[in-house]
């Protein structure tokens, strides 16, 4: 066995081991503590879980690309809200009145375009100014959220289109529309990271930016593309979610960035860039949702969920460092 292979296997398998552990724990604990007599591990419950993971999960795939690239995006929650407003409001615009139900694809397209543009704007600023992505997206988080509030004050924006609701609530092969979107996005981003030049370069830039520059990789456009991708996915997440609910509050999407980053880090992506996988992120998303659902199942309230997730995040970071510590110490001296 090669040195480091064990810790590598441990790390990539850890998130799945954790999920299994959660399943066992909640199934057993549920027998004694749960108020409902339904089993936790039933098929329907798991399908519902996949559907509920979709809003965070879709964005998390984009965050994986951005973080692998060595950046971070704190503005996704605000982008999510803007896209939702564009989606719902554009369906009521008079110019589209003659379109009938064809307004739906137009509204989707508009929302996705706006999301992509907002993401690309972040990327452009990071590229051209050289300001750290953390600061840029911290600023745009405030700015984009300001735009959301300027649009309609504190009032919700609502519009229900029943054709759209039917589509969003539809099931195909037993899976809800949102679940299909999550799986499709996971597949596409997985392909992008593993089998395209862009994906390979994104890893290279995140791992060692100077080396990537010296190797002739154009760092800027790659970063901008990744920001555009996460903007697009934040909008897609909004589109999928609000097609069903039909009403958006100006505060919606707040703290999404924290949930998404938590999922991505749980999935093993390095905050400093250069390492991480889409499959791991998928595991992270499922693990978090499972935790929320499972704790609810055994009668714990939301406060416990927050407490547990915070502690787990820190524990994961600690374990990850312990597994890496040998290699790093050698490098340092």
């Amino acid at each position: 066995m090669q040195p480091g292979a064990l810790s590598k296997a441990l790390k990539s398998g850890a998130i799945w081991g954790f999920i299994v552990l959660e399943l066992i724990f909640f199934s057993v604990a549920g027998e004694f503590l749960s108020l409902s007599d339904k089993a936790f591990m039933n098929w329907e419950n798991m399908l519902l879980l996949l559907k509920q993971s979709a809003p965070i999960g879709i964005i998390a795939m984009g965050m994986t690309m951005v973080m692998v690239n060595g950046n971070i995006d704190l503005s996704v929650g605000a982008t999510f809200a803007i896209a939702a407003i564009v989606l719902l409001d554009s369906m009521t615009w008079p110019i589209f009145a003659g379109l009938g139900d064809w307004v739906i694809p137009v509204a989707w397209l508009l929302a996705l375009l706006v999301g992509t543009a907002l993401g690309a704007l972040n990327g452009l600023i990071v590229w051209k100014t050289g300001v750290d992505a953390f600061i840029v997206t911290l600023g745009s988080m405030l700015g984009y959220r300001g735009v959301v509030f300027m649009f309609n004050g504190e009032n919700p924006t609502s519009h229900l289109n029943w054709t759209l609701v039917d589509f969003a609530e539809a099931e195909f092969l037993g899976l809800a529309t949102a679940s299909w979107f999550l799986l499709a996005v996971t597949l596409v981003i997985w392909f992008l990271t593993k089998h395209t030049v862009h994906g390979r370069n994104a890893y290279a830039i995140g791992d060692n930016r100077d080396a990537a520059v010296n190797a002739g990789i154009r760092v800027g456009p790659h970063m901008m593309i990744n920001f555009a991708i996460i903007g697009f996915l934040a909008a897609l997440s909004a589109v999928v979610f609000y097609s069903e609910s039909g009403s958006v509050n100006p505060n919606d999407g707040q703290l999404y960035e924290l949930w998404v980053i938590t999922a991505v880090v749980l999935g093993g992506t390095k905050i400093t860039g250069g390492a991480g996988s889409v499959i791991g992120t998928f595991g992270g998303v499922i693990a978090i949702q499972l935790l929320r659902k499972g704790l609810g199942h055994i009668g714990a309230d939301t406060s416990t969920v927050n407490l547990v997730i915070g502690c787990i995040l820190i524990a994961v970071l600690f374990l990850d460092r312990q597994l890496n510590v040998k290699g790093k110490e050698e490098l340092k001296v």
Partner: protein, 324 residues
């Protein structure tokens, strides 16, 4: 005599850019609105900025030492809820030290994780944000916290009282800023904070105990948070569980606006105070101009990015980043 070359002007702009921007803002708003620079208005702005400002003072230490603190918002909710709860149970005189002790414990946990275990501060404080929020909700049982006898307690002095005609929150903010400013600029401890943030390895090799310094920075930060929680609790005498939610990012915005680098090693207390005041006066000025409340967020966005951009541009001598 030194001649003013283009580069020198650029250098001055870069170093004092934030002060110049502040001055331009104040002049523009004063011209636009007669009420803007009145004593009443200035007091009300500084007073409402005091809570944010006190927290920003502590975060300045953390940022200069090369770390981040995203947990200050939920920690502030925690201390507010705790002090309000204990106020009725053991009386204000005991509640305040008890609250400070509990908040310092949280700061010590973060300081231990980031300083001694050397974990990434962004993730640790992100986790603590969530964990402390959970802790607060568990503590309060999800209920809003209120003081039973709002009229008869001297506890309200920290948030509502005034001395010599100056509101107490302002006195606390200014006093703490002066004290911490001296600590940072004039003591060996302050110099070590800069050293650790500027180059941690070099600091370690020159005999500075890096872990201990980082630990102490988080203790200072949590002490500031406890003070902010005290002001908040005393001002409203009742509170929701989420009173500090989102403040961590505004605090960070103020610190960055003041010119502290997220890489560590630079920034001063004075500049952080300017950053806090800029945020406060922008909010106030835009409202006086009759603009919508939420326009301030967009303006803050533009200002943060411009401020950091110009700072970086002046250092590298080029406006645009050289990366392809």
């Amino acid at each position: 005599m030194a001649t003013l070359t283009k580069q020198k002007i650029g250098g001055i702009l870069a170093r004092q850019g934030i002060l110049i921007a502040f001055a331009i803002f104040m002049i523009a708003f004063t011209l636009a609105s007669a009420k803007f620079l009145s004593v009443d208005n200035v007091f009300s702005v500084v007073r409402s900025s005091a809570i944010l400002g006190v927290m920003a003072l502590g975060v300045t230490f953390v940022v200069i030492s090369g770390n981040l603190d995203l947990s200050v918002g939920s920690m502030m909710s925690f201390s507010t809820i705790v002090v309000l709860d204990l106020h009725d149970k053991i009386g204000p005189a005991l509640a305040i030290p008890a609250m400070f002790a509990m908040t310092l414990c949280l700061g010590a946990i973060i300081g231990f994780l980031v300083g001694y275990l050397r974990l990434n501060s962004l993730i640790v404080t992100l986790g603590m944000l969530s964990a402390i929020h959970g802790l607060t909700l568990t503590y309060s049982g999800g209920q809003n916290m209120d003081i039973a006898d709002k009229e008869g307690t001297w506890f309200s002095v920290f948030g509502q009282g005034s001395a010599l005609g100056i509101p107490v929150p302002i006195l606390i903010f200014v006093g703490l800023a002066a004290f911490l400013g001296v600590v940072l600029a004039r003591t060996p401890f302050g110099r070590k904070v800069y050293a650790v943030g500027g180059n941690g390895t070099a600091a370690t090799f020159s005999g500075i105990r890096r872990a201990r310094i980082v630990f102490q920075c988080y203790l200072i930060s949590s002490a500031c948070v406890a003070t902010a929680g005290l002001i908040q609790a005393s001002r409203s005498l009742g509170s929701q569980n989420t009173v500090g939610q989102g403040l961590e990012l505004e605090v960070l915005a103020a610190v960055i606006l003041g010119g502290a680098s997220l890489l560590g090693g630079s920034g001063t207390i004075f500049k952080t105070v300017i950053g806090v005041l800029i945020l406060g006066f922008i909010q106030n000025g835009l409202l006086l101009l009759g603009l919508q409340f939420y326009v301030q967020f967009v303006v803050t966005w533009v200002i943060i990015i411009l401020a950091v951009w110009l700072d970086i541009a002046a250092k590298r001598g080029k406006l645009l980043s050289p990366i392809a």
